[in-house]
Symmetry: C2
C-alpha cells in the first residue's frame, strides 16, 4: 500500500495541498473548521506527518544549504550524496548552490541561502576566495557552518577534510615502490592549503626514499586536461628526463597520459602516471588511472554529522575531522610486471 500523503488528504477534502500543509502546522490563516476536518481526515487515512512539516512549527525550516565549487567533477557530487544520505534520514532537505569557483558567486549563494532561511550551511570554498566576510556573517547569525575538503583555518569552524599530506605522500611512495625514480609533480598556482599539502607529501616521500627533490620536476599551473598535456610537452621540449607523473588531480593526470601516448611513450611501462580524487572516469579509461581516493561519501556523511552535533549542542567545540586517503592502484602505474 502507498503511504498517505498530503495530496490524498487534499483530494478527499477537495482543498489544495498547501491548505492541508498549513492546516497541519496550525497556520493562523486557516479556519478552525478546516483544521479540524484536515486532522480528522489525516487520522482516518492514517497519515503520518513528516518531520519537515512538523518542524515548521518549531521555527526551523529543516533545509540545509550546500555550496559546491563545481558539479562537473564527480568528487563534489559524491560528497553531496553522503551529505544527503545522513541529512535525509534526519528529516532535512538539501539545497545546492554552485559557486563555479568564483568568490562573487559564492557570496551570492550564501545570500540566497540566508534569504531562504536555511538551518545551516555546508561549504567548500572556491579556489579564489580570500575574503571571508560572507562566512563571518553566517557565524554572526548563529547559523551552523561546516566546511568540507577546503577549510578556512582562520574561521574556527567544524570541518571534514582529508589528510592531503598523507595523500601526496602515498601517491609518491607508490610510484617509488613501483620502481619509478624521476617523478614529476604537477601542482596548482593557487595557494590553497590542500594543494600545498599534497606537494609537501610528495617532497617528504622523496626524502624518505633518498631521492633528491628537483625543482625542475615541479610544475605549476591552472589544472586541467589541457594543462596536463602542456606539462608533458614542456618537459620534453626542455629535454628534462622523467619516468613518472603525480598530478594534483585526475583530469590533469589524464591529459599527461594522452600526451605521452600521442608521443609514443608507453604508459605505464616507460612512464607511470597517478592522479588524485578518484574521478569516476578513471576506472573506464585504458590504462586504468591510478589515483588517491578521498572517501568522498564518508566526507559528506561526516560533514552532515558535524552539522547535527552542532545543532544538538550549540556550545559544541568546533571539531576538525580528518579522513585518511586511500591509494587506488590501477594499470597506469604498473611498471613492475607482477
Amino acid at each position: 500500500m502507498q503511504k498517505t500523503t498530503i495530496h490524498d488528504i487534499a483530494r478527499e477534502l477537495n482543498i489544495t495541498f498547501s491548505t492541508v500543509a498549513r492546516a497541519l502546522r496550525d497556520h493562523p490563516a486557516i479556519s478552525e473548521a478546516t483544521k479540524a476536518a484536515v486532522r480528522e481526515m489525516a487520522e482516518k487515512l492514517n497519515y503520518r506527518q513528516n518531520k519537515l512539516a512538523s518542524s515548521l512549527r518549531s521555527g526551523n525550516t529543516h533545509i540545509i544549504g550546500v555550496i559546491v565549487p563545481s558539479l562537473h567533477v564527480s568528487f563534489f557530487s559524491s560528497v553531496v550524496h553522503g551529505i544527503e544520505k545522513v541529512m535525509n534520514e534526519n528529516g532535512y532537505s538539501i539545497l545546492l548552490y554552485q559557486s563555479n569557483e568564483l568568490q562573487q558567486q559564492e557570496i551570492r549563494g550564501i545570500a540566497t541561502f540566508l534569504q531562504s532561511r536555511v538551518d545551516g550551511i555546508i561549504s567548500s570554498i572556491t579556489l579564489e576566495t580570500e575574503d571571508y566576510r560572507h562566512y563571518e556573517e553566517i557565524k554572526k547569525r548563529n547559523i551552523p557552518l561546516i566546511f568540507f575538503d577546503r577549510d578556512v583555518a582562520a574561521l574556527d569552524t567544524p570541518s571534514v577534510t582529508i589528510n592531503d599530506h598523507e595523500g601526496g605522500f602515498i601517491a609518491t611512495e607508490h610510484l617509488v615502490q613501483q620502481g619509478y625514480r624521476r617523478i614529476v609533480h604537477i601542482t596548482a598556482t593557487q595557494a590553497l592549503p590542500i594543494f600545498q599539502e599534497r606537494l609537501r607529501g610528495y617532497k617528504d616521500a622523496l626524502l624518505r626514499y633518498g631521492i633528491p627533490v628537483r625543482e625542475e620536476l615541479i610544475l605549476q599551473g591552472q589544472f586541467s586536461l589541457e594543462f596536463g598535456k602542456a606539462c608533458i610537452r614542456q618537459l620534453r621540449e626542455r629535454g628534462i628526463p622523467f619516468d613518472a607523473v603525480f598530478a594534483l588531480e585526475d583530469y590533469t593526470a589524464m591529459g599527461a597520459i594522452q600526451q605521452l601516448q600521442a608521443d609514443g611513450i608507453a604508459v605505464p611501462q616507460e612512464t607511470g602516471v597517478i592522479g588524485f580524487a578518484n574521478e569516476s572516469f578513471g576506472a573506464l579509461v585504458s590504462p586504468g588511472l591510478s589515483t588517491i581516493d578521498q572517501q568522498t561519501v564518508k566526507m559528506g556523511e561526516e560533514a552532515a554529522r558535524l552539522f547535527l552535533a552542532t545543532v544538538r549542542d550549540k556550545q559544541h567545540k568546533p571539531r576538525k575531522v580528518v579522513l585518511e586517503p586511500v591509494l587506488i592502484a590501477r594499470a597506469s602505474t604498473k611498471k613492475i610486471i607482477s
Copy 2:
C-alpha cells in the same frame, strides 16, 4: 540565538513594527530622527534587511529552483550550467535539488522550493514519477514551471527537449552507414517517452535502410554500466549474432564495450558501439565512445529563456522548444578504415 527581526528593533525603541518597516524603506511619513534611530538600532542588533522581506513587496525573490534527477551524470550538470548562465545574467540565483530519480524526493524538493518562495521551478521528472499532483500545485500557485529533457505532456507546460526520435534515428543510421547490419538496441524498462522515442528512431532507421527489425536484438533493463555488460553476455550465451550496439545512454554503452573487450571481441572492427548523451568520459576512453550530443548547455539556456518569457507575459502560451541532436562519431564505430 534567534535572528534579529523588525520586531526586535521595534521592541527596543518602543515603536510599532510598521514604523520600523517604513523607516527602513525610507518612507516619507517617518521623521528623519526616527529613521536615524531605527538605522542605529538595526546596526547595533546586527539586523540584515532580508531580501525576502523587501522582495515580498515586489513579490519576487529572484531565486529559481531547479530539480535534477541526478548530478552523477554530466548531462544534468551541463544543462544546469546553461540555466545558470542565462539566469545569472538576468539577476536570478539558482538553487538545485537532486531527486535521485525518486518521486518521493521530487515531491519533497518541490515543497522545499515552495517554502523558499522561489520565483519559478525548472525540472526534469524522475524515471518513476507517475503522479503529477505536486506539479499541478506549482501551476495552481501561478509559479512558472518549465520542464527540460523529460517533459510531461499532460501538464501543458513550456518545455525544452531534444528530438529523441531523430537521435535514435541518426545513431542507428550512422551504424548502418559504417557497414554494421545486425544492430542491437538496449533500452529501458521505464516507459519514459524519451526512451520510447529513441527506440522508435532505431526501428525507423532500420526500415529506411531495408534492414529487418528483430525483436531478439532489442533488450530492456535498468540501464547502467553493469547492465551493458549483462546484455552482451546474454546475447552471446543465447548465440544471437550481432555486429553493433546502440545503447540508450553512454554508461550502458561503455559496459557493452568493456564486456566485448573482455571477451576478446575487437571494438570497432568486429562490433561497433554507440551511446547517447555525450557524457564527458566518452572522449577519454579508448576507443573513444561515439554518441549523440543533446546540446545540453543550449537546453539549459533555452529553459531559462522560456522561464523569462513566461515571467514577462503570464498569458504566454506554453511553448515547446525541441532541439536537434548531434552525432558525435568517435573511434568506437569506425568499422570502415578511412
